[in-house]
Symmetry: C2
Subunit: 223 residues, 2 copies
Protein backbone atom coordinates (compact mmCIF):
# COMPACT_ATOMS: atom_id res chain seq x y z
CA UNK A 1 0.00 0.00 0.00
CA UNK A 2 2.81 2.39 0.80
CA UNK A 3 4.46 3.37 -2.43
CA UNK A 4 7.96 3.43 -1.07
CA UNK A 5 8.19 1.61 2.23
CA UNK A 6 9.09 4.38 4.63
CA UNK A 7 12.32 3.34 6.24
CA UNK A 8 12.56 4.24 9.88
CA UNK A 9 16.18 4.36 10.88
CA UNK A 10 15.94 6.19 14.18
CA UNK A 11 13.78 5.58 17.24
CA UNK A 12 12.06 8.88 16.65
CA UNK A 13 11.11 7.68 13.17
CA UNK A 14 9.61 4.45 14.41
CA UNK A 15 7.75 6.19 17.19
CA UNK A 16 6.46 8.77 14.74
CA UNK A 17 5.08 6.07 12.43
CA UNK A 18 3.54 4.11 15.29
CA UNK A 19 1.91 7.17 16.76
CA UNK A 20 0.63 8.29 13.39
CA UNK A 21 -0.88 4.89 12.72
CA UNK A 22 -2.57 4.83 16.10
CA UNK A 23 -3.97 8.32 15.60
CA UNK A 24 -5.19 7.77 12.05
CA UNK A 25 -6.87 4.50 12.97
CA UNK A 26 -8.46 5.93 16.07
CA UNK A 27 -6.59 3.79 18.58
CA UNK A 28 -5.75 7.12 20.13
CA UNK A 29 -8.98 9.04 20.18
CA UNK A 30 -9.46 12.19 18.12
CA UNK A 31 -9.32 15.25 20.34
CA UNK A 32 -7.57 13.44 23.18
CA UNK A 33 -4.53 14.73 25.00
CA UNK A 34 -1.08 13.38 24.29
CA UNK A 35 0.86 13.18 27.52
CA UNK A 36 4.58 13.02 26.92
CA UNK A 37 5.37 11.09 30.08
CA UNK A 38 2.55 8.64 29.53
CA UNK A 39 3.53 7.94 25.92
CA UNK A 40 7.18 7.65 26.87
CA UNK A 41 6.42 4.77 29.25
CA UNK A 42 3.89 3.23 26.88
CA UNK A 43 6.22 3.15 23.87
CA UNK A 44 9.30 2.62 26.03
CA UNK A 45 11.42 5.49 24.79
CA UNK A 46 12.60 8.71 26.35
CA UNK A 47 10.54 11.86 26.38
CA UNK A 48 12.88 13.48 23.88
CA UNK A 49 11.93 10.88 21.29
CA UNK A 50 8.24 11.35 22.01
CA UNK A 51 8.62 15.09 21.70
CA UNK A 52 10.24 14.79 18.32
CA UNK A 53 7.52 12.44 17.11
CA UNK A 54 4.83 14.81 18.35
CA UNK A 55 6.51 17.74 16.63
CA UNK A 56 6.41 15.89 13.34
CA UNK A 57 2.78 15.01 13.83
CA UNK A 58 2.11 18.68 14.43
CA UNK A 59 3.73 19.44 11.08
CA UNK A 60 1.35 16.92 9.47
CA UNK A 61 -1.65 18.69 11.03
CA UNK A 62 -2.62 15.53 12.88
CA UNK A 63 -1.80 17.09 16.24
CA UNK A 64 -2.09 20.57 17.67
CA UNK A 65 0.25 21.94 20.24
CA UNK A 66 0.17 24.82 22.69
CA UNK A 67 3.26 26.03 24.49
CA UNK A 68 3.49 24.98 28.12
CA UNK A 69 0.18 23.19 27.88
CA UNK A 70 0.63 20.18 25.64
CA UNK A 71 -0.43 18.45 22.48
CA UNK A 72 -3.85 17.15 21.48
CA UNK A 73 -4.94 14.99 18.59
CA UNK A 74 -6.94 17.13 16.16
CA UNK A 75 -10.71 17.01 16.43
CA UNK A 76 -12.64 15.88 13.39
CA UNK A 77 -15.61 17.89 12.22
CA UNK A 78 -17.71 18.19 9.08
CA UNK A 79 -16.32 21.70 8.70
CA UNK A 80 -12.77 20.38 8.90
CA UNK A 81 -13.53 17.72 6.32
CA UNK A 82 -14.87 20.30 3.89
CA UNK A 83 -11.79 22.47 4.30
CA UNK A 84 -9.54 19.49 3.81
CA UNK A 85 -11.23 18.53 0.57
CA UNK A 86 -11.01 22.07 -0.72
CA UNK A 87 -7.25 21.92 -0.36
CA UNK A 88 -7.20 18.48 -1.89
CA UNK A 89 -9.20 19.68 -4.85
CA UNK A 90 -6.76 22.51 -5.52
CA UNK A 91 -3.61 20.44 -5.11
CA UNK A 92 -4.67 17.25 -6.82
CA UNK A 93 -6.18 19.22 -9.66
CA UNK A 94 -2.79 20.80 -10.23
CA UNK A 95 -1.13 17.42 -9.82
CA UNK A 96 -3.28 15.96 -12.60
CA UNK A 97 -2.45 18.90 -14.85
CA UNK A 98 1.27 18.44 -14.26
CA UNK A 99 1.05 14.67 -14.56
CA UNK A 100 -0.32 15.13 -18.07
CA UNK A 101 2.82 17.11 -18.85
CA UNK A 102 5.41 15.15 -16.95
CA UNK A 103 4.55 11.47 -16.78
CA UNK A 104 6.49 9.37 -19.24
CA UNK A 105 4.86 6.82 -21.49
CA UNK A 106 5.80 3.89 -19.28
CA UNK A 107 4.16 5.49 -16.25
CA UNK A 108 1.02 6.20 -18.24
CA UNK A 109 0.91 2.60 -19.45
CA UNK A 110 1.26 1.36 -15.88
CA UNK A 111 -1.57 3.62 -14.82
CA UNK A 112 -3.74 2.16 -17.57
CA UNK A 113 -2.79 -1.31 -16.34
CA UNK A 114 -3.79 -0.43 -12.81
CA UNK A 115 -7.13 0.73 -14.14
CA UNK A 116 -7.69 -2.56 -15.95
CA UNK A 117 -7.02 -4.48 -12.75
CA UNK A 118 -9.57 -2.32 -11.03
CA UNK A 119 -12.03 -2.97 -13.80
CA UNK A 120 -11.78 -6.70 -13.18
CA UNK A 121 -12.35 -6.17 -9.49
CA UNK A 122 -15.33 -3.93 -10.03
CA UNK A 123 -16.78 -6.44 -12.49
CA UNK A 124 -16.46 -9.15 -9.86
CA UNK A 125 -18.22 -6.90 -7.42
CA UNK A 126 -15.33 -6.63 -5.02
CA UNK A 127 -15.61 -3.97 -2.39
CA UNK A 128 -11.88 -4.05 -1.98
CA UNK A 129 -11.46 -1.42 -4.65
CA UNK A 130 -12.32 1.70 -2.76
CA UNK A 131 -9.57 1.73 -0.20
CA UNK A 132 -6.31 0.43 -1.61
CA UNK A 133 -7.09 0.89 -5.27
CA UNK A 134 -8.28 4.44 -4.94
CA UNK A 135 -5.29 5.37 -2.84
CA UNK A 136 -2.92 3.79 -5.34
CA UNK A 137 -4.50 5.64 -8.23
CA UNK A 138 -4.22 9.02 -6.58
CA UNK A 139 -0.67 8.35 -5.42
CA UNK A 140 0.52 7.63 -8.92
CA UNK A 141 -0.88 10.81 -10.34
CA UNK A 142 0.56 12.90 -7.54
CA UNK A 143 3.96 11.29 -8.03
CA UNK A 144 3.54 11.74 -11.77
CA UNK A 145 3.39 15.49 -11.29
CA UNK A 146 7.11 15.32 -10.47
CA UNK A 147 6.57 18.34 -8.24
CA UNK A 148 8.37 17.78 -4.96
CA UNK A 149 6.29 20.26 -2.96
CA UNK A 150 3.01 18.86 -4.19
CA UNK A 151 4.16 15.34 -3.44
CA UNK A 152 5.25 15.98 0.10
CA UNK A 153 2.31 18.15 1.11
CA UNK A 154 -0.17 15.57 -0.16
CA UNK A 155 1.52 12.29 0.67
CA UNK A 156 3.20 13.19 3.94
CA UNK A 157 0.43 15.45 5.13
CA UNK A 158 -3.04 15.60 3.71
CA UNK A 159 -3.56 11.97 2.79
CA UNK A 160 -3.10 10.81 6.36
CA UNK A 161 -5.75 13.22 7.54
CA UNK A 162 -8.05 12.08 4.75
CA UNK A 163 -7.57 8.49 5.80
CA UNK A 164 -8.24 9.47 9.40
CA UNK A 165 -11.61 10.88 8.37
CA UNK A 166 -12.36 7.82 6.25
CA UNK A 167 -11.56 5.38 9.00
CA UNK A 168 -13.17 7.18 11.88
CA UNK A 169 -16.33 8.25 10.10
CA UNK A 170 -16.51 4.76 8.65
CA UNK A 171 -16.55 5.42 4.93
CA UNK A 172 -16.23 2.27 2.89
CA UNK A 173 -19.35 2.39 0.84
CA UNK A 174 -20.30 2.42 -2.80
CA UNK A 175 -19.53 5.03 -5.38
CA UNK A 176 -17.26 2.32 -6.66
CA UNK A 177 -18.34 1.99 -10.26
CA UNK A 178 -19.00 5.70 -10.59
CA UNK A 179 -15.57 6.57 -9.27
CA UNK A 180 -14.09 4.00 -11.61
CA UNK A 181 -15.48 5.80 -14.65
CA UNK A 182 -14.14 9.08 -13.36
CA UNK A 183 -10.72 7.53 -12.96
CA UNK A 184 -10.89 6.23 -16.49
CA UNK A 185 -11.63 9.64 -17.92
CA UNK A 186 -8.79 11.22 -15.98
CA UNK A 187 -6.32 8.68 -17.30
CA UNK A 188 -7.63 9.28 -20.78
CA UNK A 189 -6.97 12.98 -20.47
CA UNK A 190 -3.47 12.35 -19.17
CA UNK A 191 -2.74 9.93 -22.00
CA UNK A 192 -3.87 12.64 -24.42
CA UNK A 193 -1.51 15.07 -22.68
CA UNK A 194 -4.48 17.35 -22.02
CA UNK A 195 -3.49 18.94 -18.70
CA UNK A 196 -6.33 21.39 -18.70
CA UNK A 197 -8.95 18.66 -18.93
CA UNK A 198 -7.13 16.37 -16.52
CA UNK A 199 -7.20 19.08 -13.89
CA UNK A 200 -10.87 19.79 -14.44
CA UNK A 201 -11.85 16.12 -14.22
CA UNK A 202 -9.75 15.54 -11.13
CA UNK A 203 -11.33 18.51 -9.39
CA UNK A 204 -14.81 17.23 -10.22
CA UNK A 205 -13.85 13.76 -9.05
CA UNK A 206 -12.75 15.07 -5.66
CA UNK A 207 -15.74 17.37 -5.38
CA UNK A 208 -18.12 14.45 -5.98
CA UNK A 209 -16.22 12.37 -3.49
CA UNK A 210 -16.57 15.13 -0.93
CA UNK A 211 -20.28 15.49 -1.56
CA UNK A 212 -20.69 11.75 -1.19
CA UNK A 213 -18.93 11.72 2.15
CA UNK A 214 -20.78 14.77 3.35
CA UNK A 215 -24.09 13.16 2.53
CA UNK A 216 -23.16 10.16 4.66
CA UNK A 217 -22.10 12.41 7.49
CA UNK A 218 -25.60 13.79 7.76
CA UNK A 219 -27.11 10.33 7.99
CA UNK A 220 -24.74 8.77 10.48
CA UNK A 221 -24.27 10.35 13.86
CA UNK A 222 -21.02 12.32 13.71
CA UNK A 223 -19.48 10.78 16.80
Amino acid sequence: MEIAAESAVTHADKTFFRLRKDIVEGVIEAGSKLSETELSTKYDVSRAVIREAINRLTASHLVERRANVGARVVSLSPQGLVELYQVREALEGMAARLAAQNMNQQEIDDLQGLLNDHFDEVKDGQRYYQEAGDVDFHYRIVLGSKNQHLISVLIDGIYHLVRMYRVQFGMAGPRVTTAFDEHRHIVQAIANRDGELAEMLMRRHILYSKNNIERKLLHTSPH
Copy 2:
Protein backbone atom coordinates in the same frame (compact mmCIF):
# COMPACT_ATOMS: atom_id res chain seq x y z
CA MET B 1 4.36 43.35 7.86
CA GLU B 2 3.43 40.34 9.91
CA ILE B 3 -0.32 40.18 10.11
CA ALA B 4 -0.44 38.94 13.65
CA ALA B 5 2.88 39.46 15.42
CA GLU B 6 3.99 35.93 16.06
CA SER B 7 4.43 35.62 19.78
CA ALA B 8 7.40 33.54 20.78
CA VAL B 9 6.87 32.27 24.28
CA THR B 10 9.52 29.59 24.47
CA HIS B 11 13.22 29.62 23.66
CA ALA B 12 12.63 27.17 20.85
CA ASP B 13 10.13 29.63 19.36
CA LYS B 14 12.55 32.52 19.41
CA THR B 15 15.37 30.42 18.02
CA PHE B 16 13.07 29.14 15.27
CA PHE B 17 12.14 32.68 14.24
CA ARG B 18 15.72 33.89 14.36
CA LEU B 19 16.96 30.96 12.33
CA ARG B 20 14.17 31.31 9.81
CA LYS B 21 14.93 34.98 9.37
CA ASP B 22 18.63 34.32 8.86
CA ILE B 23 17.92 31.60 6.33
CA VAL B 24 15.32 33.52 4.36
CA GLU B 25 17.51 36.61 4.21
CA GLY B 26 20.58 34.65 3.23
CA VAL B 27 22.61 35.38 6.35
CA ILE B 28 22.92 31.63 6.48
CA GLU B 29 23.76 30.57 2.98
CA ALA B 30 21.39 28.45 0.91
CA GLY B 31 22.65 24.89 0.72
CA SER B 32 24.94 25.24 3.72
CA LYS B 33 25.11 22.77 6.57
CA LEU B 34 23.46 23.47 9.89
CA SER B 35 25.68 22.18 12.68
CA GLU B 36 23.76 21.69 15.89
CA THR B 37 26.71 22.27 18.18
CA GLU B 38 27.85 25.32 16.27
CA LEU B 39 24.40 26.92 16.29
CA SER B 40 23.91 26.07 19.94
CA THR B 41 26.98 28.10 20.92
CA LYS B 42 26.18 30.85 18.43
CA TYR B 43 22.62 31.38 19.65
CA ASP B 44 23.50 30.49 23.23
CA VAL B 45 20.92 27.78 23.83
CA SER B 46 21.14 24.05 24.32
CA ARG B 47 21.25 21.62 21.45
CA ALA B 48 17.74 20.42 22.28
CA VAL B 49 16.38 23.86 21.48
CA ILE B 50 18.33 24.01 18.23
CA ARG B 51 17.07 20.59 17.27
CA GLU B 52 13.47 21.59 17.80
CA ALA B 53 13.96 24.75 15.76
CA ILE B 54 15.57 22.78 12.94
CA ASN B 55 12.73 20.27 12.97
CA ARG B 56 10.23 23.06 12.52
CA LEU B 57 12.26 24.52 9.68
CA THR B 58 12.21 21.10 8.07
CA ALA B 59 8.44 21.14 8.27
CA SER B 60 8.46 24.51 6.48
CA HIS B 61 10.59 23.05 3.68
CA LEU B 62 13.34 25.56 4.41
CA VAL B 63 15.69 22.85 5.64
CA GLU B 64 16.30 19.25 4.67
CA ARG B 65 17.41 16.64 7.11
CA ARG B 66 18.95 13.22 6.84
CA ALA B 67 19.10 10.82 9.74
CA ASN B 68 22.49 10.56 11.41
CA VAL B 69 23.97 13.00 8.95
CA GLY B 70 22.50 16.40 9.64
CA ALA B 71 20.46 19.26 8.28
CA ARG B 72 21.15 21.55 5.34
CA VAL B 73 19.48 24.71 4.20
CA VAL B 74 17.58 23.98 0.99
CA SER B 75 19.27 24.87 -2.28
CA LEU B 76 17.52 27.32 -4.56
CA SER B 77 17.13 26.53 -8.23
CA PRO B 78 15.04 27.75 -11.14
CA GLN B 79 13.39 24.34 -11.16
CA GLY B 80 12.49 24.69 -7.48
CA LEU B 81 11.08 28.13 -8.06
CA VAL B 82 8.83 26.86 -10.84
CA GLU B 83 7.53 24.04 -8.66
CA LEU B 84 6.90 26.43 -5.82
CA TYR B 85 4.85 28.75 -7.99
CA GLN B 86 2.82 25.86 -9.33
CA VAL B 87 1.75 25.03 -5.79
CA ARG B 88 1.14 28.68 -5.07
CA GLU B 89 -1.05 28.99 -8.14
CA ALA B 90 -3.21 26.07 -7.08
CA LEU B 91 -3.56 27.12 -3.45
CA GLU B 92 -3.99 30.85 -3.86
CA GLY B 93 -6.41 30.31 -6.71
CA MET B 94 -8.55 28.27 -4.36
CA ALA B 95 -8.05 30.88 -1.65
CA ALA B 96 -9.41 33.60 -3.93
CA ARG B 97 -12.41 31.45 -4.81
CA LEU B 98 -13.17 30.83 -1.15
CA ALA B 99 -12.51 34.45 -0.20
CA ALA B 100 -15.24 35.48 -2.62
CA GLN B 101 -17.58 33.21 -0.68
CA ASN B 102 -16.43 33.80 2.83
CA MET B 103 -15.13 37.33 3.33
CA ASN B 104 -17.61 39.61 5.02
CA GLN B 105 -18.42 43.07 3.73
CA GLN B 106 -16.13 44.80 6.20
CA GLU B 107 -13.16 42.73 5.09
CA ILE B 108 -13.89 43.44 1.45
CA ASP B 109 -14.14 47.17 2.17
CA ASP B 110 -10.79 47.06 3.94
CA LEU B 111 -9.27 45.28 0.99
CA GLN B 112 -10.58 48.00 -1.31
CA GLY B 113 -9.07 50.56 1.05
CA LEU B 114 -5.72 48.83 0.92
CA LEU B 115 -5.90 48.95 -2.86
CA ASN B 116 -6.57 52.70 -2.80
CA ASP B 117 -3.52 53.28 -0.64
CA HIS B 118 -1.50 51.30 -3.12
CA PHE B 119 -2.91 53.38 -5.93
CA ASP B 120 -1.59 56.55 -4.31
CA GLU B 121 1.82 54.97 -3.91
CA VAL B 122 1.94 53.77 -7.48
CA LYS B 123 0.86 57.21 -8.68
CA ASP B 124 3.74 58.76 -6.72
CA GLY B 125 6.07 56.27 -8.31
CA GLN B 126 7.09 54.59 -5.09
CA ARG B 127 8.93 51.35 -5.46
CA TYR B 128 7.95 50.46 -1.95
CA TYR B 129 4.79 48.85 -3.17
CA GLN B 130 6.09 45.57 -4.42
CA GLU B 131 7.32 44.08 -1.20
CA ALA B 132 5.10 44.99 1.73
CA GLY B 133 2.01 45.94 -0.24
CA ASP B 134 1.94 42.84 -2.36
CA VAL B 135 2.49 40.62 0.65
CA ASP B 136 -0.28 42.35 2.55
CA PHE B 137 -2.70 41.94 -0.34
CA HIS B 138 -2.09 38.23 -0.71
CA TYR B 139 -2.24 37.67 3.05
CA ARG B 140 -5.68 39.20 3.31
CA ILE B 141 -7.12 37.05 0.59
CA VAL B 142 -5.63 33.90 2.03
CA LEU B 143 -6.99 34.77 5.45
CA GLY B 144 -10.29 35.67 3.82
CA SER B 145 -10.65 32.11 2.61
CA LYS B 146 -11.28 31.14 6.24
CA ASN B 147 -9.76 27.77 5.43
CA GLN B 148 -7.38 26.81 8.19
CA HIS B 149 -5.34 24.36 6.12
CA LEU B 150 -4.89 26.79 3.27
CA ILE B 151 -3.86 29.52 5.69
CA SER B 152 -1.24 27.52 7.49
CA VAL B 153 0.30 25.87 4.45
CA LEU B 154 0.66 29.21 2.70
CA ILE B 155 1.51 31.58 5.51
CA ASP B 156 3.60 29.31 7.71
CA GLY B 157 5.21 27.48 4.85
CA ILE B 158 5.24 28.56 1.25
CA TYR B 159 5.41 32.33 1.70
CA HIS B 160 8.72 32.13 3.55
CA LEU B 161 10.25 30.12 0.73
CA VAL B 162 8.86 32.59 -1.78
CA ARG B 163 10.44 35.42 0.13
CA MET B 164 13.72 33.52 0.27
CA TYR B 165 13.74 33.30 -3.50
CA ARG B 166 12.81 36.98 -3.83
CA VAL B 167 15.54 38.15 -1.49
CA GLN B 168 18.31 35.90 -2.68
CA PHE B 169 17.69 36.21 -6.39
CA GLY B 170 17.25 39.93 -5.87
CA MET B 171 13.76 40.51 -7.17
CA ALA B 172 12.52 43.99 -6.50
CA GLY B 173 11.80 45.23 -9.96
CA PRO B 174 8.88 46.64 -11.86
CA ARG B 175 5.66 44.96 -12.77
CA VAL B 176 4.28 47.38 -10.23
CA THR B 177 1.53 49.10 -12.17
CA THR B 178 0.67 45.96 -14.08
CA ALA B 179 0.35 43.93 -10.90
CA PHE B 180 -1.73 46.70 -9.42
CA ASP B 181 -4.34 46.37 -12.15
CA GLU B 182 -4.43 42.62 -11.64
CA HIS B 183 -5.02 43.13 -7.94
CA ARG B 184 -7.83 45.53 -8.72
CA HIS B 185 -9.61 43.03 -10.91
CA ILE B 186 -9.30 40.31 -8.32
CA VAL B 187 -10.84 42.50 -5.64
CA GLN B 188 -13.61 43.39 -8.06
CA ALA B 189 -14.41 39.73 -8.60
CA ILE B 190 -14.42 39.10 -4.85
CA ALA B 191 -16.69 42.09 -4.26
CA ASN B 192 -19.04 40.63 -6.87
CA ARG B 193 -18.92 37.30 -5.04
CA ASP B 194 -17.72 35.68 -8.24
CA GLY B 195 -15.48 32.93 -6.89
CA GLU B 196 -14.97 31.31 -10.26
CA LEU B 197 -13.55 34.47 -11.78
CA ALA B 198 -11.56 35.39 -8.68
CA GLU B 199 -9.79 32.05 -8.86
CA MET B 200 -9.04 32.41 -12.53
CA LEU B 201 -7.65 35.91 -12.14
CA MET B 202 -5.53 34.97 -9.17
CA ARG B 203 -4.05 32.05 -11.03
CA ARG B 204 -3.18 34.27 -13.97
CA HIS B 205 -1.71 36.84 -11.63
CA ILE B 206 0.61 34.32 -10.07
CA LEU B 207 1.48 32.78 -13.43
CA TYR B 208 2.49 36.20 -14.79
CA SER B 209 4.47 36.85 -11.67
CA LYS B 210 6.29 33.56 -12.12
CA ASN B 211 7.06 34.27 -15.75
CA ASN B 212 8.37 37.67 -14.79
CA ILE B 213 10.73 36.24 -12.22
CA GLU B 214 11.84 33.45 -14.53
CA ARG B 215 12.68 35.98 -17.21
CA LYS B 216 14.93 37.80 -14.77
CA LEU B 217 16.57 34.61 -13.70
CA LEU B 218 17.81 34.02 -17.21
CA HIS B 219 19.37 37.49 -17.38
CA THR B 220 21.08 37.62 -14.01
CA SER B 221 23.56 34.95 -13.07
CA PRO B 222 21.78 32.75 -10.55
CA HIS B 223 24.43 32.87 -7.86
